[in-house]
C-alpha cells in the first residue's frame, strides 16, 4: 500500500456532478471541505458525537466525519450550501434567524440539516420529537430553547 492510493470518485453534490481524486483515508467531511471548498459543515469532534459535520447522503443525514469520501461513488450528497439556491433562504434558515436559534453559529449548519431531515419525516413534530431528533447535534451557546422554537416556527411556516 502506498500513501498515494488515490482514486477517482464521482458523485453529485447539491445537484451538481463532481469528480474528485482522493485517498481512502479522506473522510467525506475532509472531501467536501478541502477538495470541494464547501466549508459549511464543521469538524467539532471527529467521532460522531457533535453533529457539526452533518450532511445528507441519499436522503438521510449522517456524520460526515465518520464516512469516507471513497464511499460516495454514485451517491447524492447535499450540504448546507445547497439547501436554498443562491442567496435565497430556506424557511428553516429564516426560522433560525428570526428566533435566535444560534449564537456563535458553528453548529448551525448541522442543526439546520438535521431540522430539514426531521421535518421531511415528521412535518409537525412535538417538542419531544424535536429534542430527540436533534440529540445528535451539540450546541453550547443556546441551551436549545431557541433552537426548539426555531424548529417549531419552521414547521408552522412550512405547513401553512
Amino acid at each position: 500500500m502506498t500513501t498515494t492510493n488515490r482514486r477517482i470518485v464521482q458523485f453529485t453534490v447539491n445537484g451538481n456532478s463532481v469528480e474528485v481524486a482522493i485517498t481512502p483515508r479522506q473522510t467525506l467531511l475532509e472531501v467536501v471541505r478541502d477538495e470541494l471548498g464547501l466549508t459549511g459543515a464543521k469538524e467539532g469532534c471527529s467521532n460522531g458525537n457533535c453533529g457539526s459535520c452533518t450532511i445528507e447522503v441519499d436522503g438521510v443525514t449522517i456524520n460526515s466525519c465518520c464516512a469516507l469520501g471513497v464511499e460516495m461513488d454514485g451517491r447524492e450528497v447535499n450540504t448546507i450550501e445547497g439547501l436554498a439556491p443562491g442567496n435565497d433562504l430556506h424557511p428553516i434558515q429564516k426560522a433560525y434567524m428570526n428566533n435566535g436559534g444560534f449564537q456563535c453559529g458553528i453548529c448551525t449548519p448541522g442543526f439546520i440539516l438535521s431540522t430539514d431531515h426531521l421535518l421531511k419525516m415528521i412535518p409537525n413534530p412535538t417538542e419531544e420529537e424535536i429534542r430527540l431528533h436533534l440529540a445528535g447535534n451539540l450546541c453550547r451557546c443556546t441551551g436549545y430553547d431557541k433552537i426548539v422554537r426555531s424548529v417549531q416556527a419552521a414547521a408552522e411556516d412550512m405547513n401553512s
Binding site: M1, T2, T3, N5, R7, T23, P24, R25, T27, S46, N47, G48, N49, G51, T54, V60, T61, I62, N63, C65, C66, A67, L68, V70, E71, D73, S114, H117, L118, L132, H133, A135, G136, N137
Partner: protein, 292 residues
C-alpha cells in the same frame, strides 16, 4: 489518520474473496461509525477496508418465509427502527436500533457493525440474543449460521475467523403471546454508551404463567451474557412485583463488570438488578400483565 486501502465489492462472491484474501489485515466498513474513529485513534489498524454496502445479500430486509425476518448486516439501523413490523413483532430490536448513537448514526450504523464491533455494550446484541437470532457467516470455507449468542469471544473479539464476514441476521418468528423489551441505563438521555443494558423476551402460556423467558445483559461482562439464574426463577411462574425484583437479584450473579469512566463495577451490579426488574416488568406489561 493512517492510510489504508478500500474496496467495494458488489456481490457476495467478490466480498468473500476480498475477506478471504486479506484475512486479519481487513475490516468490514458498513456504517463506518465505529471503525473510522477506531482507525483515527489507532485502536484498530486495518490495511484494507471492505465496504459491504454494495453487496445485495448484506442489504436484505425481508421475511424469511417462515414468519421470521432477514436483516442484512450492512442495512442501516434506521430501517430497522422505523419498520412497523419490527416495532410490533420485535419491539426490543426496534428500541435498540433507535438507541445506537443519534439519528445521524442510526442513518449509517448497522447490525453487522454493532455486532461485529463486539463491544460488550452493543445495544442491539441483547435483543438479538433474547429473540433467538442467528447470523449468517460467509468465508472461504463456505457459509454457516451461528446463534448470535455464540459469536463473542471478548471485548472487540468474535469467534469467527478473520477471513470470514457477517452477511445477514435471521430473527425467528416469535411464539404466540410473547414480547420483548430492551432497556439500558446511560447518564444522559441519549448519545451515550450503555452503562448496563438488559434485553428480555417473554412468552406467556394460556394461564398467564411465564412459559419461556430469555434475559441478556450488556456492559456487565467481557461479552454480552445470558442471565440464566434470573430466567430460571421466572420460568413457569406467574409474574409478581416481588418475582421481578427476585429476577433482578438473580441477574446480578451473571454480572462481572469492570470499573471504567462510564461507571464502577459496584454501580453496574446495582443497575443490573434495577434494570432487569424493570425490563421484565415492562415486557410483561406489553403482554397485558401489570405488576407495578
Amino acid at each position: 489518520m493512517r492510510n489504508f486501502d478500500y474496496v467495494a465489492p458488489t456481490s457476495l462472491t467478490e466480498a468473500v474473496q476480498a475477506f478471504g484474501q486479506a484475512g486479519d489485515k481487513a475490516r468490514a466498513l458498513a456504517g463506518g461509525t465505529d471503525i473510522i474513529d477506531q482507525i483515527r485513534i489507532g485502536r484498530r489498524t486495518p490495511e484494507l477496508l471492505i465496504d459491504t454496502k454494495r453487496v445485495p445479500e448484506m442489504m436484505v430486509f425481508e421475511g424469511d418465509g417462515a414468519g421470521g425476518l432477514r436483516i442484512g448486516a450492512a442495512l442501516p439501523l434506521y430501517r430497522v427502527r422505523d419498520d412497523a413490523n419490527v416495532q410490533a413483532t420485535y419491539p426490543a430490536l426496534a428500541t435498540a436500533s433507535g438507541l445506537v448513537g443519534a439519528v445521524q448514526i442510526q442513518n449509517r450504523a448497522t447490525l453487522g457493525g454493532n455486532v461485529g464491533n463486539a463491544a460488550p455494550s452493543g445495544d442491539t446484541i441483547p435483543p438479538l440474543v433474547v429473540l433467538g437470532s442467528t447470523v449468517v457467516i460467509a468465508g472461504p470455507r463456505g457459509t454457516r449460521e451461528e446463534p448470535v449468542e455464540n459469536i463473542f469471544a471478548g471485548p472487540g473479539q468474535m469467534t469467527i475467523a478473520p477471513d470470514e464476514c457477517l452477511v445477514e441476521f435471521r430473527v425467528p418468528a416469535p411464539k404466540a403471546n410473547s414480547s420483548s423489551y430492551y432497556v439500558r441505563f446511560i447518564p444522559r438521555a441519549e448519545m451515550d454508551i450503555a452503562v448496563v443494558g438488559v434485553g428480555v423476551s417473554l412468552t406467556l402460556n394460556g394461564g398467564g404463567q411465564i412459559e419461556d423467558v430469555n434475559i441478556s445483559l450488556a456492559s456487565v461482562a467481557p461479552t454480552p451474557v445470558r442471565a440464566t439464574d434470573a430466567e430460571n426463577v421466572l420460568r413457569g411462574e406467574t409474574l409478581t412485583a416481588a418475582l421481578a425484583r427476585e429476577a433482578g437479584e438473580q441477574a446480578e450473579h451473571h454480572a462481572s463488570p469492570i470499573s471504567d469512566v462510564r461507571g464502577s463495577a459496584d454501580y453496574r451490579r446495582e443497575l443490573t438488578k434495577v434494570l432487569t426488574r424493570r425490563a421484565v416488568a415492562a415486557c410483561a406489561a406489553q403482554l397485558g400483565v401489570n405488576v407495578t
